[in-house]
């Protein structure tokens, strides 16, 4: 047995004990839940909508597929998936109850209610049987998981053979000068915008720092392979501000 008390993880730029991360991330998302869509707009200058569409283009949802959207918060990805594949069904799973409650209130949730389920759950210990989904998505969620590798392992477990993983996450710009400029924007502008639009500077500060701490594209692709996925590929979005990672359970 290892001594858990000595294990640490990142919480933005701070190093904190592993067992504190979930609670602190939970605090961030509970505080932003009702304004989460505003937050995504602030973080990406509205471009997250295009990235999510790019995710759907690559996924190509099909009728009959069952989607598990983890860290699905307010249902954004599930709604897109079900709109593109009217015969598909989806489960939205998130650690933060208040995110799911606000998602279920959205108009899309009403019209898709018979194809949509909402479950509070932990990406590292999913409450689903092995081989029960065709598609697993996690969008701007995996960097908030205490041990991302465990979330990927769980994704592999719950997917059926032939199932597909797709991860959308903020990433690193391959050109150092651009990364420098983006860092200036992130650290100086986003927390202030968070204060201005959502009255919550600290949560946005965490989000900016957590983005910078997240592994780069190739490192993350290695983690996806480590979980057992094959044909692992990624695509940069907006020059690498975000990236889509795809893998198949063969």
């Amino acid at each position: 047995m290892t001594d858990d008390s000595q294990k640490t993880t990142h919480f933005g730029n701070q190093t904190i004990p592993e067992d504190e991360k979930a609670g602190r991330v939970h605090g961030v998302f509970t505080s932003v839940a009702s304004r989460y869509d505003v937050m995504n707009d602030v973080m990406s200058v509205g471009i997250h909508r295009l990235w999510k569409d790019a995710m759907m283009d690559w996924l190509a949802p099909r009728s009959g597929q069952r989607l598990l959207d983890v860290a699905g918060g307010t249902g954004d990805i599930a709604f897109r998936f079900l709109t593109r594949a009217p015969g598909a069904s989806a489960v939205v799973c998130d650690m933060t109850e208040s995110m799911l409650v606000s998602g279920r209130k959205r108009a899309e949730a009403e019209s898709m209610a018979d194809r949509l389920d909402w479950v509070v759950g932990d990406a590292m210990a999913l409450p689903f049987e092995a081989a029960s989904f065709d598609v697993y998505t996690i969008s701007f969620g995996i960097r908030n998981v205490t041990r991302p590798q465990e979330a990927l392992n769980e994704a592999f477990r719950v997917l059926k053979p032939g199932g597909r993983l797709m991860v959308l996450e903020f990433s690193q710009l391959p050109v150092p000068a651009m990364q420098w400029a983006y860092d200036r924007y992130s650290y100086n502008v986003i927390p202030r915008m968070g204060q201005a639009f959502a009255g919550d500077r600290d949560s946005y500060q965490y989000l900016v720092e957590s983005i910078r701490q997240f592994p780069d594209q190739d490192t993350f692709a290695g983690m996806v392979r480590e979980a057992g996925f094959e044909q692992v590929k990624y695509r940069n979005l907006s020059m690498g501000i975000a990236a889509l990672h795809s893998g198949w359970k063969i």
Partner: protein, 64 residues
């Protein structure tokens, strides 16, 4: 709001059957009175709040 209740009930039911215990991955039994999903193997009861099952080990009630 009360008009929504019957539809939510039927659709909850199907979802509940698909869930397993996040700790043991064993099937769960539904306690309709307490609105809990019970994992006998893990001695845990997961609450259902606002029609949403809360499948977190930390939020579960410990059973004797």
């Amino acid at each position: 709001m009360t008009g929504d209740a019957p539809r939510e009930q039927t659709y909850d039911r199907r979802m509940l059957e698909a869930l397993v215990c996040p700790q043991t991955q064993a099937p769960l039994s539904f306690d309709a009175e307490r609105l809990e999903l019970v994992s006998k193997a893990a001695h845990l009861a997961y609450p259902i709040r606002n029609g949403i099952p809360v499948m977190l080990i930390d939020e579960a009630r410990q059973l004797d």
